[in-house]
């Protein structure tokens, strides 16, 4: 191993470094300058500082065109991972913007710092090709998310959800670490490319199969795919809404990116086949099963939910199923379609959670009946909700439609002889089912009347700004998808 050039590390990890410095500044400012000020002021100043830091980091990541590989893949910088970092930072900015009106905590500095720390974990997660680094970054990000879930101390559901999330996460992490250790044992390396070389020709060693399944369990937990999704509805419902939005967006983008990386780089030769009547053992058939289960269970269970946050959680599970389709198709086209899908999905989800948060603050609950008469009480807000939910359902010309179109057409053309068509047909049938529950929410907002006295809802300015911006992005990426696909 060469001598370590720390300056080189700092230079390559400059975006992460900037965010780290931002964390310190935000925390420091909150406990010194802003001490004794109102929560709103503290939130606004903290959010401003955080957003400035994120934008600075994002600009840096976006404008540098560096390719570097430090320490045998521990730290890998390339335009692709830089762009994913930009996306994660953008999602963080939106999460912070919708958090500003939240009133569940008075620990403003800590809350914002934790979001930024989670972001740092996710950024490291996407810029490595080494299993150890993957695990460390994943756990770093997860710890921040556990705490964020528990942050509403006035609500015992928040604590319960966090505990469940933590236990489930711990168990998954154990499986993941177990799998990683098996992989290291089989191949003699923690570097993904070397693992691929090491497992080549090993055939289907039972140990390799166990490693495969445990790795899938670890990431299946992160992306909330069936049957590793059980934490998600409880966590989404119990967590403070901005936290849930962050779990559902930034974390998901990074997880999918690194999931695809691990399996397409590290498990070369162990793909197997998921085509209809052409089944071969490997990781793609496992993904096929997980994806199919996620789509069916996520969509069907969402139908019966009465809480919109739980509904969004099951919708997230279903969407994870669609996105796994992009991973298991295993072509460059499907990978870029999957990234397009997950980024636009993350934007839409933050928007949806943002609307839920406003409604929750105004009506005291997130049940579908709390949305009744929303179009009269807050026309702009419900128009944003309409755009987000229709995009999630996949209505043209919104981003959700074009994402599904890219993803499904990539999947259809991936398998030989339309072998993956069965999954695509299932996916399309299940997206048809999904309209039912999205429209239930919209029906409440647009058709039903609010019970009793229903004054107009005052939407916090910053939140509304973020929601409008998100809605415009959803429309923009739906109409001009080239703006996004050129980077993927």
């Amino acid at each position: 191993m060469n001598t370590v050039n720390y300056l080189e590390i700092l230079r390559l990890a400059a975006p992460e470094t900037i965010v780290t410095v931002t964390v310190l500044i935000v925390l420091g400012a909150d406990v010194t300058v802003m001490r004794g000020k109102s929560i709103a002021a503290r939130f606004n100043v903290g959010a401003l500082l955080s957003i400035l830091g994120c934008i600075f980091a994002a600009l840096l990541a976006f404008t540098r065109h560096t390719e570097a590989n430090l320490f045998n893949g521990l730290m890998v910088v390339d335009p692709s991972s830089d762009f994913v970092k930009v996306a994660i930072l953008a999602l963080t900015v939106f999460t912070i913007l919708i958090s500003t009106s939240a009133r569940f905590t008075d620990h403003v500095g800590e809350y914002l710092s934790l979001i930024l720390l989670g972001t740092i974990g996710l950024m490291f997660l996407v810029s490595t090709e080494d299993l150890l680094m993957v695990f460390i970054a994943l756990e770093f990000a997860s710890l921040a998310l556990y705490i964020l879930t528990a942050f509403n101390k006035h609500n015992e559901k928040s604590a319960e959800a966090a505990l469940k999330y933590f236990l489930f996460g711990g168990m998954s992490a154990a499986f993941l670490l177990f799998g990683f250790s098996l992989l290291y044992g089989i191949s003699g390396s923690t570097n993904l490319r070397e693992i691929a070389v090491g497992i080549a020709g090993k055939g289907f060693d039972p140990l390799l199969l166990v490693a495969l399944v445990t790795t899938i369990i670890g990431f299946g937990f992160k992306v909330a795919a069936v049957p590793f999704h059980l934490w998600a509805p409880d966590a989404y419902e119990g967590a403070p809404t901005p936290s849930a939005a962050f779990i559902g967006s930034g974390s998901k983008v990074a997880s999918f990116y690194v999931l695809a990386k691990i399996f397409t780089l590290g498990f070369v030769g162990a793909e197997g086949s998921a085509v209809w009547h052409g089944y071969l053992s490997g990781w793609t058939p496992v993904f096929a099963i997980v994806a199919a289960l996620s789509m069916v269970l996520g969509n069907l269970t969402a139908i019966v939910q009465s809480s919109v946050k739980r509904l969004l959680a099951y919708s997230a599970i279903a969407h994870a199923g669609y996105m796994l389709l992009g991973v298991l198709s295993n072509t460059p086209a499907s990978a870029s379609a999957m990234m397009f899908y997950v980024i636009t999905y993350a934007l839409t989800t933050i928007g949806a959670f943002g609307v839920v948060m406003v409604v929750e603050e105004a009506t005291g609950g997130d049940a579908i009946k709390n949305f009744a008469g929303l179009s009269r009480r807050a026309p702009g807000l419900s128009l944003c909700l309409l755009i987000f939910l229709l995009s999630l359902g996949g209505i043209p010309p919104l981003a959700g439609f074009i994402g599904k179109f890219f993803l499904f057409s990539a999947a259809v053309s991936a398998g030989a002889n339309l072998g993956l068509l069965w999954l695509v047909i299932l996916a399309i049938a299940m997206s048809a089912v999904s309209f039912y529950y999205y429209l239930r929410v919209l029906k409440a907002a647009y058709v039903e009347d609010a019970p009793g006295e229903a004054p107009a809802i005052k939407v916090p300015l910053l939140t509304f700004l973020a929601l409008v911006l998100l809605a415009l992005l959803v429309i923009l990426f739906g109409c001009v998808p080239g703006l996004l696909t050129q980077f993927l």
């Binding site: 499986f175 166990v210 399944v213 053992s281 496992v286 039912y436």
Partner: protein, 701 residues
């Protein structure tokens, strides 16, 4: 290009503009309406004089002709031009229409003074003038057709001006529909012409459809029935002229059109619009006269189309003149006279060319306008009475009207030497006499002339001579004493100056105009054809000309004398008295009085057939097509019922069951979410084992 050619469009545009302004103004702005209408025509008249002067002084250089065109609309790769033409034909018509029109407008101010719709009247009149002037200047059959239809529309509106009278409304409808039959021919001819030549411009520097290249092309192509294309197209266009100019057999609308106000009858249904058909034939005369290259056969120096024109004209001339003999409505007599005179014009075009027909058109416009306005003055003076049997002795009450009416009557009758009608009619008869094809049109024309002199004498004798019979009730004889009892307010009275002055001016022209076209000084002929001519009194005494003039004069005198002998010498005593002719020849009188029963024949044939066809269509529509539709309806309803059943009991039920199952499965699956973290973790373990077994089993398979 001289300025007047470029700005010729102003002449029709001014009255159009005036009509627009009148239309949007609030009632009642009588002064404004009259001033605008008369003023626009006065300015138009001055411009027309400029245009006229520009066409003068070109004798011996061929026909003066300048065109102005601009591209208007594109079909595929082809541009259609619109434009106007200034040539002697246009110029002389412009002067005539604007001048006569202006006089009639002025007359109308007096005649319509008490009408509550004065403004509407002037709006229509101005619109009519715009259309008519558009017809005159058009250098394009399309523009011509558009203006032609505007003219037709205003004619309809003005005939039915007193629409509260059922007879007026019916007459308007009749005029519109009858002329429409002719217009159909014109439209077909226009389309065919465009298909053949690719242009609708009359003159276009050698490319127009009235210029030799295109004419020869059309004449050499043979179509249906072995006729040349030029003949068939000419015939179709001629149909339009037949409808508009009231030629037999489409003349039936013109007498009924007298339901309109008298100035309208004078302007539209005597002087200008009905002459538009004659003008159309004159405009497309090169097409009509294009020999279909059948030299050496029976056509000598004429063409099939001109023979048709001649015969139609001759038949119309004698036809109208004979009916006029037995009419009792002052305006109807004049209307049939107009039909007859239009026949003469057509005949003139057929046998003698543009100059002959157009000369009669111009002179007729003046003296017939004079007669109609005179009759208007009479009707006005007699408290809206139109029956000549209830007039009489008006000479005493209306001296000015009587004087000018006499001038008009003598001009129409063709009194020798001093009246314009003599010269123009004589020229037609002269040409007919020399016509190589047949002598019958000439004989018909002469007979018509006899009738003309006779019926005009009859009319004047009945209206102006004898005693006033207006106070008698119809059917009560010998109220003679009473009629002269006093100069009561019910007596006829002379019309105001605003009405009589135009009459006097028109009378002047009715006399003078004849001298521009005598055989001794054929200025008019030279002007239109662009040929040399000189003043030569000896032409008058040439054997052919002189003999014919004497014969023609003899015919006129016979007619006048006969009329005077029958009606003037023994004035009619009572209203109910039988007509002299009726007493002598009841059968013929009956036939003539009923206009040869043409209306009845149409009633019995065309209209009955139409009614039958309508009934048949109604029947077919109701029972056959309607039945088919009903059948389809019942089949559709039956199918719809079937579909509904299928939908309700199979599809929907199935779908509902499916949805229910989905929802229940959702409920079932959500049971998985127990909320107990132990279960959650157990699921992971189970999943791990299941997936590994799945993979290992798959590997073995």
């Amino acid at each position: 290009m001289i300025w007047i050619v470029k700005n010729l469009w102003l002449i029709p545009a001014l009255p159009l503009f005036a009509a627009g302004i009148i239309a949007v103004n609030k009632q009642p702005a009588r002064k404004l309406a009259a001033t605008l209408a008369i003023g626009s025509l006065a300015v138009g008249f001055l411009l027309s004089l400029c245009a006229f002067s520009a066409t003068l002084g070109h004798h011996g250089e061929g026909v003066f002709r300048e065109v102005f065109s601009f591209p208007w609309i594109q079909f595929g790769g082809q541009w259609m031009d619109l434009g106007w033409v200034l040539d002697p034909l246009t110029a002389i018509m412009l002067v005539m229409v604007t001048f006569v029109g202006m006089l009639i407008f002025i007359f109308s101010v007096g005649y319509m003074a008490h009408d509550e719709n004065f403004m509407r009247f002037f709006c229509f009149l101005a619109l009519f003038a715009a259309g008519m002037l558009g017809v005159v200047i058009a250098n394009n059959l399309f523009l011509f057709f558009v203006s032609w239809e505007i003219v037709g529309l205003t004619s309809y509106l003005l005939i039915g001006f007193w629409y509260h009278k059922p007879s007026a409304a019916a007459a308007a409808k009749k005029a519109f529909i009858t002329t429409r039959i002719g217009d159909l021919g014109l439209l077909l001819g226009m389309v065919w012409l465009y298909a053949q030549t690719g242009t609708l411009n009359f003159y276009d520097g050698g490319h127009g459809c009235m210029e030799s290249t295109q004419l020869v092309k059309m004449a050499t192509q043979v179509t249906i029935g072995g006729f040349a294309v030029s003949t068939v197209v000419g015939f179709l266009i001629f149909l339009g002229a037949v409808g508009k100019s009231g030629q037999f057999p489409l003349h039936v609308w013109l007498p009924d059109a007298m339901e309109g106000p008298t100035p309208v009858s004078a302007l539209i249904h005597a002087a200008t619009m009905v002459a538009a058909g004659v003008f159309l034939v004159a405009r497309v005369y090169p097409l009509m006269a294009q020999s279909p290259l059948l030299h050496g056969t029976m056509w000598l120096d004429t063409t099939p189309m001109l023979i048709i024109v001649t015969w139609v004209g001759a038949i119309t001339a004698i036809f109208g003149a004979s009916i006029a003999v037995a009419q009792n409505d002052i305006k109807r007599i004049l209307a049939y006279s107009t039909v007859s005179q239009l026949g003469y014009m057509m005949m003139g075009l057929g046998v003698g060319g543009v100059a002959v027909g157009m000369f009669h058109l111009i002179t007729h416009a003046f003296f017939k306008a004079l007669l109609f306005l005179g009759s208007g003055s009479v009707i006005h003076g007699c408290h809206e009475e139109q029956d000549v049997r209830k007039m009489g002795g008006l000479k005493k009450y209306m001296p000015v009207t009587f004087a000018v009416y006499a001038v008009g009557m003598l001009a129409l009758a063709g009194f020798p030497l001093f009246f314009s009608g003599f010269w123009s009619k004589d020229e037609i008869l002269h040409s007919a006499h020399n016509w190589p094809v047949s002598h019958i049109p000439f004989l018909l024309g002469c007979t018509g002339a006899l009738f003309t002199a006779f019926y005009m004498t009859r009319q004047v004798a009945l209206v102006f001579f004898g005693n006033y019979r207006g106070h008698q009730q119809a059917g009560t004889p010998s109220a003679h004493a009473h009629s002269h009892a006093s100069e009561s307010s019910h007596d006829p009275h002379e019309s105001p100056a605003v009405m009589t002055v135009p009459l006097v001016i028109l009378a002047g022209f009715a006399i003078l105009l004849g001298f521009v076209g005598t055989p001794a000084w054929p200025w008019f002929d030279g002007y239109l054809t662009g040929e040399e001519f000189k003043f030569d009194l000896s032409k008058l005494t040439e054997p052919g000309t002189l003999g014919l003039m004497i014969a023609s004069a003899a015919i006129v005198f016979t007619g006048l004398g006969l009329g005077w002998f029958l009606y003037g010498k023994r004035p009619r005593k009572t209203v109910a008295e039988k007509d002299v002719l009726e007493a002598a020849q009841p059968f013929f009188y009956k036939v003539l009085e009923n206009k040869y029963f043409i209306d009845e024949i149409y009633e019995g044939t065309v209209i009955r057939f139409n009614a039958f066809a309508a009934w048949l269509c109604d029947f077919a529509d109701r029972w056959i097509f309607g039945g088919a539709v009903m059948l389809v309806k019942y089949i559709t309803v039956g199918l719809a019922w079937l579909y509904r059943l299928t939908d309700e009991y199979f599809v929907n039920l199935g779908f509902d069951t499916g949805c229910e199952a989905l929802r229940e499965s959702g409920g079932g699956l959500s049971k998985l979410q127990t909320g107990r973290v132990q279960t959650y973790l157990r699921v992971i373990g189970v999943a791990l084992v299941a997936l590994i077994i799945f993979l290992i089993w798959g590997r073995k398979a």
